[in-house]
Subunit: 475 residues, 2 copies
């Protein structure tokens, strides 16, 4: 990193590098390109170690993790066998958790302990969190007392809590110091304080948090100034048991870069920085998309049988609701036998209701996740969806009614499907917004089961309204 | 902020505050509670200005924005009329963009210019981005030359690009300075440099980026050290035209806190920090959930008619595919007339296909967004989904086949629905993964139209397979 001369070589190199880098980013983005992966795999198959070393040389840990995520199991095993030395501890950390657990579980506990001991406390915790509890204990046995204690403490906090998210490495200073003394301490205590930190936490003798000092304030202060005088007291304390979603909400809302975590007595135990929150937001947002579709996190890296099994549960629940809808249809068998066009048209009524309901559902689920929707505006939100359902119901009733009447040359059939469409779109709107709101109110996850309830309702209401009205007017 | 004595009063106050704060966070999280909003609205209706001022006194800008997002239009207008002074420029910035545009558009251009001139350049850009172009120009006219130039430059970058995201406020220093000179500069140039900054960018005389110095390195360095010697050269340059999704990917991938943005010649033009990226990730993840359901961003805050109109387009497209499915069903009218049980069972086949396909679709959309899925593993991902479809298809074929045979006392009907189920779940898996992959490959958004294509296929294949096989074996 250091350089004896001032401008020369690094300057020229820099220029050429920059042009090349910009070109690369424009073409490929910041990912590992598929072309590069192909080249690496070709070299692997040809066992051309020389070329491979060149190709792997300038890859970052994240690159190598991406490579391992995209190649198949055999190729990955091949890499681990031949190029074990390029797999740094942070490569494991970058891997998708499902894939990582699979790889780590195959290693001896002592090797995993070795990997873990080279990571920061919060990253180490990430790594062993989802491993088998027995294996976890074995790994802990191989760690130094200090590392083991830190991890055990982390594991003692509830899942997805601030205590699991926080770093135990931070810089805390007493309020009665001066700026000069603080800077001298930072220079002298290089071994005790973390490599990276963005601010100082000011504490009293009982480790109660008094405030924070961003580094840019410290740099600009005079050596004689008192810490107490430059401390920002407007801080956001996070109780260690706070749910990570709530933590993400705090950061997003207040635009802060880091916040101290405290125990039940208000004593400082760690610090959460915005980069930890980035992972949480990614995770939670991704979870919602997957949950609404009935898939578990990590599905992408699971083996075929595991995937099939985990998805089959959702499909089984859906099957029950599908049979409920079928039961509704079968009540009207006689009418369908008489007017067979009903069989062709009934999926339209149910399907349009399902789609309109899903629109309302997605908006409500997202608004709840972003804390934009709570008791205050819940009734208004549901009423709005009912109105939107009424308006679009009338619009599509007209459209579908005319098409149906013309297609099957039956005006009453057109009238019947139009009425059913209005009824189903209103109920789709009301329930699409209402179901996640009610689930959330009673402490349930609004994303996970809303869509099952919703399609049950839009199918049953749609079929019942359409076939029931048809029985009345056409039967 | 400053305090003459060292420990005393702030200490005791601090203790009580902490206990209270922790209690509050545990009960309410970091949001404005519904109870508080109710109290505020009650005071507003009773026109009790005294109580209102007390209730509004300690709210942050984010709190007030949350309040405005949750009350209805009349109540909000009331607030703006009576308590205009509590609405700071950053309250506008915190508001949902749809709601904000509505409020700003009702103000005179000069007032908006006033609001904007008090924000950081990137936040100011956020604020006027989606306003009507004519109104935008009017606002720009009311700004100082410096502010106008900054905004016009920002607007000149493509939508959703790094250039729009970046801050123009940063601290750049020449490589030949010493640590001492740098610190003296930071102290002296207080007016020229931003209030908050997390690191220094080291540049050559042509403003080409040479590296970065995190503040914690600067604080710990000796005054006599050369800047060149403590510069980290392993930096990630972002071209100003890079898409914001790509920028988010870089931050997520490399775990960095900030990165310099450069123009086409590689000259420094701004800096992107991780908090800007937080917003992008939130936005993109939210967009995917909404897009998959066919809703536009900001839907929650739109008026009923606007909402109905914007959603009707998606429903109209769905209607076309619904009629295609109806056409498939109507081909088999004669068979349904003979075996009316088919009408009751056919939604089961189509529905299970739709659900299984949506599972595969959500996994693929999410994996593409996270850059875990590209050419290298595309074929493998599709084949896996086909296999999962085969396995779950067989499982549910068995189940549904037996139930159908028993329900309608018709073994051949059970066999027919079983075969149709296997066919439809395999095709659901293949297309569920395949459609977003192909869309992405040809530069289309994989989230937005995938589900339309998918349900068209699962409906048509499901109905055709089931009713076709029924015609063969039961017709």
């Amino acid at each position: 990193m250091s350089d004896d001369t001032l401008h020369p070589p690094s300057n020229e190199r820099g220029q050429a590098d920059t042009a090349e880098l910009l070109e690369e980013v424009r073409e490929e983005g910041f990912s590992l390109s598929d072309q590069r992966i192909r080249d690496i795999l070709d070299a692997l198959y040809e066992e051309d170690v020389e070329v491979l070393r060149t190709l792997l040389y300038d890859l970052s840990d994240a690159d190598i993790a991406e490579l391992f995520g995209k190649v198949n199991n055999e190729e990955r095993a091949h890499f681990f066998e031949k190029f074990n030395d390029i797999v740094s501890p942070y490569v494991y950390w970058h891997l998708d958790s499902e894939l990582r657990d699979e790889i780590l579980s195959a290693l001896p506990a002592s090797s995993v302990a070795q990997i873990i001991s080279e990571l920061d406390s919060d990253d180490a915790l990430d790594l062993i969190l989802d491993l088998d509890p027995v294996f976890q204990k074995n790994i802990l046995k191989h760690l130094s007392v200090k590392n083991r204690t830190a991890l055990e403490e982390g594991l003692s906090y509830p899942e997805d809590s601030a205590g699991r998210l926080m770093q135990r490495e931070y810089v805390a200073i007493p309020q009665f110091w001066t700026v000069g003394k603080t800077i001298d301490y930072l220079r002298a205590a290089e071994d005790e304080i973390p490599d990276d930190f963005y601010g100082l936490i000011v504490v009293d003798p009982y480790y109660h948090v008094k405030g924070e000092i961003p580094l840019n304030k410290l740099v600009r202060a005079k050596r004689s100034e008192k810490i107490n005088d430059i401390t920002l007291e407007d801080i956001h304390l996070i109780p260690a048991t706070t749910d990570q979603e709530e933590v993400a909400h705090l950061f997003r809302r207040e635009g802060i870069g880091s916040a101290p975590v405290v125990d039940e007595e208000g004593r400082l135990v760690g610090v959460i920085t915005i980069d930890d929150v980035l992972d949480v937001i990614d995770e939670e947002a991704g979870e919602d998309i997957l949950k609404m579709a009935g898939v578990e996190e990590g599905d992408m890296y699971r083996a075929v049988l595991d995937t099939s099994y985990s998805r089959s549960r959702w499909l089984a629940v859906n099957l029950v609701t599908a049979f409920m809808a079928a039961a509704v249809v079968s009540m009207f068998g006689a009418t369908i036998e008489k007017v067979v066009a009903l069989a062709a048209l009934m999926p339209i009524v149910a399907g349009m209701g399902g789609n309109a309901g899903t629109q309302a559902l997605a908006v409500a689920v997202r608004a709840i996740a972003m804390k934009e929707l709570s008791d205050t505006n819940a009734v208004r939100a549901i009423m709005k969806e009912g109105l939107v359902g009424l308006i679009n119901g009338c619009l599509f009733a007209l459209l579908v009614g005319f098409i149906a009447a013309w297609w099957f040359e039956n005006n009453i059939l057109g009238l019947v499907i139009a009425m059913a469409m209005v009824i189903n779109l209103i109920s789709a709107g009301l329930f699409g917004a209402g179901i996640p709101i009610v689930l959330n109110r009673y402490g349930q996850d609004p994303a996970i089961s809303s869509s099952i309830f919703l399609t049950t309702i839009t199918d049953c209401v749609g079929f019942f309204a359409f076939l029931g009205l048809a029985t009345l007017f056409l039967g």
